[in-house]
Amino acid sequence: MDKPNSPDPLTPADQALRFTQRSAAEWVTFMVASMILLALVGLICFDWQTNQNHPPAFTVTVSEAVRVTDGRYYIPFAITNTGGRIARMVQVTAELHQVGVDDETGEQQIDFLSGHETKAGSFVFTHAPQAGELVVRVASYRLP
């Protein structure tokens, strides 16, 4: 009504007329908008079908590229959720067993790990991991 070209109060007939006056640009917007929403719904359904029936499962890989800085050994690792569903509070532990020295342990908690998601981090030890036996494993997680 703030348009100068529609000064009269609208009757229902006018409203029907106005509907037919939807401009080409508005139709283009509507079509693009519907496509965006349909794509979103489609992706959600796709995710539903593919991922939700597979419980979380994990693989942890420890990189060989150990970095030494100031006498400490930084051991990069990557954890992947090979299942479909999301896991929370994933606990990754690393133990370094060495003959003659106390065992060293590291612990890492990952807040969220979605299906097929990979997160990376590092464990830090004071002894060279090559000299001993390094065990990295997932200790626990919980479902959201």
Binding site: N5, L10, S23, E26, A33, L37, C45, D47, G115, E117
Partner: protein
């Protein structure tokens, strides 16, 4: 109104594409204003990340219903009353605009990257799209509330298309060049003051939260430039491109600054306000490295500049 482009009032706007673009831009602006506070909320990202597809569809449907109810009252386009079916079409458009804006904002803040799994990205977009979509539907009624009819009885120098094209730059050039009078200076200060008020209003509730350092620390290098560009672009879009501005009032105020200069000046003011707020909440201390000062300020500067722009068109 003697211009050939606008000879007489016509049922169809001369340039429907420009008008439509402006309507979408207005909706997007409203979406950002409403969506920004929830965008800077870590809980929403987490809820989005952990929600299953079924619930995502429910949230999307509820959003559509809510937006439809709002659209029944007033759509984001320039029409006050709508045919019910057209209201539905407009709601679908509003939700789609909200989805796109939310997705862009999440990418801008690195909440969605190429590494983000599909389900997490979808959840975040769906949940962040709720406030954005509501903002789109409310854009006109909120941001245009103060707009008078004054700009229809506008200065004779401004013709229809010109009015559409350059909102606040229609003052005669001579006036702009000789504008450094005391009156105009104080007018410009009013604008910067409004930017400051708007920035504080929006960003004050974000400044003490942990999201600011969290976002700032997770941004890749050079991403801050993108955030700066987005802050300036949104600020410019809100004040000058979306057509919310009350031009008549602006003309009376005079134009010390060109639109770009004003956008830059207002951005500096909002950045200053951001630093002050962060220092006030002890988020930044002299012991922090300068890079943290910079990144935190720019990250808070995004909502602050949006608030500042809203302040400039409302106050």
């Amino acid at each position: 109104m003697g211009q050939p482009l606008d000879p007489a009032p016509h049922p169809v706007t001369p340039n429907i594409w420009l008008a439509e673009f402006q309507a979408i831009l207005q909706g997007a602006v409203g979406g950002f204003l409403f969506g920004i506070p929830l965008l800077y909320t870590v809980e929403v990202w987490l809820i989005g990340s952990t929600t299953g597809p079924r619930w995502q569809l429910v949230v999307l449907a509820v959003t559509l219903v809510g937006v439809s109810l709002l659209t029944q009252v007033e759509g984001f386009r320039q029409t006050l009353s709508l045919h019910p079916l057209e209201g539905l079409l407009e709601s679908i458009e509003a939700v789609a605009i909200g989805v796109v804006c939310a997705a862009l904002a999440l990418v801008l803040l690195c909440r969605i990257t190429l590494e983000t799994p599909l389900s997490e990205a979808l959840g975040k977009v769906v949940f962040e799209a709720v406030p954005f979509a509501l903002g789109v539907a409310l854009a006109r009624s909120t941001l245009e509330g103060r707009r008078g009819r004054a700009n229809e009885t506008d200065a004779p120098s401004a013709s229809g298309p010109e009015r559409l094209a350059n909102r606040r730059t229609t003052a005669p050039i001579s006036r702009r060049v000789t504008a450094l009078s005391r009156v105009n200076l104080s007018d410009a200060l009013v604008d910067l003051d409004a930017a400051l008020i708007g920035a504080v209003l929006i960003a004050f509730s974000i400044a003490p939260t942990e999201e600011v350092p969290l976002l700032a620390s997770s941004l890749p290098p050079l991403w801050l430039l993108l955030i700066m560009a987005a802050s300036l672009g949104l600020s410019y879009a809100i004040v000058f491109a979306s057509g919310f501005t009350d031009r008549a009032k602006r003309q009376q105020r005079g134009l010390l600054f060109s639109p770009i200069t004003e956008t830059l000046a207002a951005y500096l003011v909002t950045l200053l306000a951001s630093v002050v707020m962060l220092v006030l909440f002890q988020q930044l201390t002299p012991n922090d490295p300068w890079s943290e000062w910079l990144s935190n300020t720019l990250v808070l500067g995004l909502p602050a500049s949006i608030g500042g722009a809203a302040g400039r068109i409302l106050i």
